[in-house]
């Protein structure tokens, strides 16, 4: 069983995703903004973070949190991030595997909303099975 943190300002979507992941045997927590998410992660390190890009206060807050996690000297650094968004400013056409790099898209995987929840569950499982440090 893994501990998964969902960071998304859309509580309806986050709750639905959480239900599917809990049914898959994971422990899931939801945070509705990046600031609280960071504090939560510092309190208890999740095995994986599902992170939205756009938040009401900052349209790129998700990217910023992902970058901050990568630059963190402490325990946030190696947490794999599955990015999840309906649309984003940095990659307005959506993003592909070639966009994943440490600087512009420092995440392990991405899914575009609307998403099939089975696909989301499978991606989460795949990321959790990866060797640590590849996120």
């Amino acid at each position: 069983m893994a501990y998964v943190l969902i960071v998304d300002d859309d509580e309806d979507f986050a709750s639905a995703a959480a239900m599917v992941l809990r049914r898959a045997g994971h422990e899931v927590a939801i945070e509705l903004d990046p600031g609280r998410a960071r504090r939560s992660m510092e309190g208890r390190r999740p095995d994986l973070v599902i992170l939205d890009v756009m938040f009401p206060e900052d349209v790129s807050a998700g990217f910023r949190l992902a970058q901050a996690m990568r630059e963190d000297e402490g325990k946030l650094r190696g947490i794999p991030v599955l990015m999840l968004t309906a649309v984003n400013q940095k990659f307005p056409l959506g993003f592909g595997p070639s966009d994943i790099d440490g600087e512009s898209l420092p995440v392990a995987d991405f899914v575009e909303k609307p998403v099939d929840l089975d696909v989301l569950r499978d991606r989460v499982s795949a990321l959790l099975e990866r060797p640590a440090g590849r996120g």
Partner: protein, 497 residues
């Protein structure tokens, strides 16, 4: 009477648009002179011009070395001053260049102004020496001061150019005054002194000649500085307008993004919760309920796509040529990215993508090109039959811009329907039958991107055989093309027929 309610310590006044348009006094002051970087460039340019003046002085001095030449021309021999002034000017010029190099490495902004002022003072001094030896009143050489007056008007604020004019007048009047007082010896370029002697006998004429020169410089200063200030102010206004346009474009892009997100996100949430019901997370449902929920889920997904396309199209329609931000791109790399994003669709439709991508550089807004190519490739995938093939080729064309060809072996389009496929929301009956979820916006996006960037789109098709899109990009002239287009961006995917 005590105050009512809380007394907040921090306040914010909402600015009106008119407040943002009013240029601060500091900006206006800055507009009165050229930017420091431009002044620094011109320090070197002035030094190059000075070498020409040095050459002219040396050449003039060399004429005296040809025996009898000057006397035949009616000019007086001048064995010393042309070489002396050329040497002084050369030394000063070397100093200016050395200072410019040092200033460029440390503080170019302050160094440029000081350097230019030093150049002006030295030039005016040397010119005054030349004026004296050539003839301060009986020749037109004193009008060479005008060069400095006009250049000062171009490069400096009015107050500074007026100071240069006053300096020129001061040097000239001092020269004439010292000549009048007999402190400076007899000089002049003409071999005979008839003209000078006559002028000496007519003080009014001498006074008039000097005053006329001063008046001319002052009038030229007034006109040139006035025009120069007008041009600079206009340029400053244009820069400000451009800044506001770019800001408005960025705000529009942000608005488009947020609007798309705000419209799509609820459908994503509805879609996710409907899936909970469909996948049995909330218990078993009747077949009829499952069917209804399946329709709701499919419609949610389609609406999310439609919303994104409609916002993209609206954004493209309102995009102005001046707000585009083009860059040099390799179409092969862009296509590779588009195919990477559409790979899952190809698998879903069971269509094989065959690529032949050669380097094909052009200058365009990358997001627009991605949008165009993604839509055309997606279109080919959607209207292919299962097990079919989509070919994507790109190459640079000799003597023209690069071209991209995307062909499928799908349902094709009837000839009479070809002209309408780029209309927004138009879908052929065959297309609707083959792919009911198509939206009819994709090729309208293609048309708008093609119109913005001057990309020629040719469609060849035959029903039940397939369709070929050929995109011919305009030949780009490197950075010139980038400048022609300006700046900006947008986004998008998807397609329909």
């Amino acid at each position: 009477m005590g105050s009512v309610g809380p007394s907040p310590s921090v306040s914010y006044d909402l600015p009106l648009p008119s407040d943002l348009r009013t240029r601060p006094r500091e900006d206006r002051r800055r507009a009165a002179s050229l930017p420091e970087s431009l002044l620094a460039q011109n320090v070197v340019w002035f030094c190059r011009l000075r070498w020409i003046v040095v050459g002219i002085l040396v050449a003039f001095g060399a004429l005296d070395l040809v025996p009898g030449l000057l006397s035949r021309l009616g000019l007086r021999s001048h064995p010393f001053w042309p070489f002396a002034t050329a040497a002084a000017l050369s030394l000063a010029n070397i100093g200016f260049l050395a200072h410019a190099r040092v200033a460029a490495r440390s503080t170019p902004s302050r160094g440029a102004k000081a350097n230019l002022w030093a150049q002006i003072v030295v030039d005016l001094l040397v010119l005054t020496v030349v004026v004296h030896y050539m003839g301060s009143l009986e020749t037109y050489v004193a009008f060479a001061y005008l060069f400095h007056v006009v250049l000062a008007c171009i490069f400096f604020p009015r107050s500074w150019s007026f100071a240069v004019t006053l300096l020129a007048c001061g040097f000239y009047l001092t020269c004439v005054g010292l000549e009048e007082a007999g402190i400076l010896g007899d000089a002049g370029i003409y071999a005979t002194t008839t003209l000078r002697d006559q002028m000496h006998r007519m003080p009014g004429v001498r006074l008039l000649a000097a005053l006329w020169a001063i008046l001319t410089w002052t009038v030229v200063w007034y006109l040139a500085s006035h025009l120069s200030a007008m041009v600079r102010e206009r340029e400053s206004d244009l820069t400000e307008t451009n800044r506001l346009l770019i800001k408005a474009q960025e705000e529009r892009m942000r608005h488009m993004l947020v609007t798309t997100h705000e419209l799509k996100a609820p459908f994503a949430a509805i879609h996710a919760n409907v899936q909970l019901l469909l996948k049995g997370y909330c218990g078993a449902l009747s077949d009829a309920a499952m069917e209804v929920l399946s329709r709701v889920a499919a419609r949610c997904q389609r609406l999310a796509v439609q919303i994104q396309e409609m916002v993209q199209l609206a954004n493209l329609r309102s995009v102005g040529q001046a707000s585009l931000r083009p860059s040099a791109i390799d179409l092969a790399v862009v296509i590779e990215g588009c195919i990477s994003q559409l790979r899952s669709s190809a698998e879903e439709f069971d269509v094989r993508i065959e690529e032949d991508l050669r380097p094909a550089r052009t200058v365009a807004v990358e997001d627009h090109v991605k949008m165009l190519l993604s839509n055309v490739i997606s279109n080919a995938l959607q209207y292919s039959r299962r097990g079919g093939r989509v070919g994507v080729r790109c190459a640079a064309e000799a003597g023209g811009g690069p071209s991209v060809t995307i062909e499928d072996e799908g349902i094709g389009i009837a000839p009479e329907k070809l002209p309408r496929i780029f209309d927004v929301y138009y879908r052929t009956e065959e297309a609707v039958r083959h792919r009911p979820e198509s939206t009819g916006v994709g090729l309208a996006i293609v048309r708008h991107v093609a119109e913005i960037h001057g990309i020629r789109v040719r469609v060849e098709s035959a029903p039940d055989v397939g369709t070929r899109f050929t995109l011919r990009f305009p030949p780009s002239e490197g950075d010139d093309e980038a400048e022609r287009l300006g700046n900006g961006s947008a986004d998008g995917v998807r397609s329909d027929r």
